[in-house]
Symmetry: C2
Subunit: 117 residues, 2 copies
């Protein structure tokens, strides 16, 4: 995702921080699954958007934003998502961390705009 | 950062999510400032570690973890950090977002370990 089109998450939203290191295995399978998950999560109730970046070394961070704890947990329970997580552990990730947090405040700045932070 | 050596942030820790798009300007200056900030932040009271990834397209995410809200705010007030933020707006970033959140839970998985999430 090279640009940020979703609104800033409001106070009280849930930010799920997924920090991962890719193996060098199965890039086509990983790309296909990532695309399928992006399409699926976008239809999930309470989904507010996501930001994602991965460096050439395979280390990446994806943050997804949710209206509340219940919607974040519901996404975790979606069967297709659970199946892809299992594939991730079998093939695509060397290690990962999942950090769930609650948004307290947020700011944005674009070039040419005044600074609000 | 290609590996994760800091402990998982505990419940109640503060996660500061910095989402940014680099301009294509001044890569040497950016790299030097990033290195200097990494060295400075590591000595900051309450600093618990950070994860950072940036793709070839210039879109990046850095998450820093803090013992509490006070230590996260204190880092924001450090003069060298404020000066580098101003340079970032002048030169290095096309846009950015800063999302401050409080950790509610965290999990880690490494290949070969059982799944705890």
């Amino acid at each position: 995702m090279t640009d940020v089109t979703h609104p800033l998450p409001p106070q009280g939203a849930v930010a799920v921080i997924f920090v991962s290191m890719r193996t060098d295995a199965d890039q086509p399978g990983y790309d296909a699954a990532a695309g399928a998950m992006m399409a699926l999560v976008a239809r999930q109730p309470g989904y507010l958007g996501a930001d994602s970046a991965r460096g050439a070394d395979g280390f990446g961070i994806t943050v997804s934003y949710w209206a509340d704890e219940a919607s974040a947990r519901a996404w975790r329970a979606v069967a297709e998502h659970a199946a892809v997580r299992a594939l991730g552990r079998a093939r695509w990730y060397a290690h990962y961390r999942l950090i769930v947090s609650q948004v307290t405040r947020a700011y944005a700045w674009h070039r040419g705009e005044p600074v609000s932070e």
